[in-house]
Amino acid sequence: MIPPELIVAVLSEPFPNGISHYAIGGLLVGLGVVVIYLGTGVAAGASTFLESTLSYGSKLPRFQRYAPSRDWRVVFTLGIVAGAAVYAIALGEGVWTTDVQWWRLLLGGVLIGVGTRLGKGCTSGHGVCGVGSASSASFVGVITFLLIAIGTAHLVQAAGVMP
């Protein structure tokens, strides 16, 4: 007979911080997408904001193709910033800043900018909207970026880059 405490301990080991805030947060992320979708028919992803916002300052046709959606994409992004701010204020978490080094954020950001645009989506476009649509392109995209990110994060850790 296995003691129930042991079963709980084994099951919870991969989740040292519990699962409820992850699961509820995920459901809210999905709900945010759904609210926009039900009203407008648009499955909104977060990374197209980069290209659509560049259309304000660049005449390249590549960016101008997103001009019709650029205003609402700015509003969507401002909503995301405001929503996180509401969380920080309402739940008393307050201001939080990262210790991850600036060059990791900058270099990572450049690769993310290239990769999401080339690969047609990011964690929200492919990972949430695409997977929710059972899109084969999105399954391939998610599996690719998840495996590569896991490998990269382990390499960075093994190389002793902290934090």
Binding site: G32, T40, S69, G132
Partner: protein
């Protein structure tokens, strides 16, 4: 070109409300903290699996039922569709490049915007990088299109 939001006075308020819920969820799930994302990628805490699959479960339910049960979207008149992209070499190449960036930094676009909302001004390094990367990619793509080498591809 007419803007998408010209059709309905509640279009922008609704998009803002959706973004608000989306950003609140990202902050609550701690995806807005690069350290937490990195601890997931380094197999120290698998909780983030619940974020992506929880979100996809909600969108999946609606993306599959709305086209069958509802007519057209009230604010745009758009037909409800799923989000489908063409699967080609770029999905794998771009996914790989994105993966390196995500694994190096622990940030992704939506979570980076949310991170700004929790006061993490250092994330501006990452957001600036994303704009540079998107510009470089668009510049290459435009040069290729002018040479007739590639056709326009949708992105989200």
């Amino acid at each position: 070109m007419s803007a998408d939001h010209e059709q309905h006075p509640l279009f922008l308020p609704l998009v803002f409300a959706g973004g608000l819920i989306f950003g609140f969820g990202l902050a609550l799930s701690e995806m807005a903290k690069p350290e937490v994302v990195l601890s997931f990628l380094q197999f120290e805490d698998f909780g983030l699996l619940f974020v992506m699959f929880g979100a996809a479960a909600v969108t999946g339910l609606v993306f599959f039922t709305a086209p069958r049960l509802l007519g057209r979207a009230p604010m745009t008149g758009a037909v409800y569709r799923r989000r489908l992209k063409t699967l080609d070499r770029n999905v794998v190449l771009g996914g790989g490049v994105f993966g390196v960036g995500w694994g190096l930094s622990g940030i992704c676009p939506g979570a980076a915007y949310a991170s700004l909302g929790i006061g993490n001004y250092a994330i501006l390094w990452g957001i600036a990088g994303m704009f540079v990367g998107a510009y470089v990619q668009g510049y290459w793509r435009s040069a290729g299109a002018e040479a007739g080498a590639s056709s326009p591809t949708g992105a989200d």
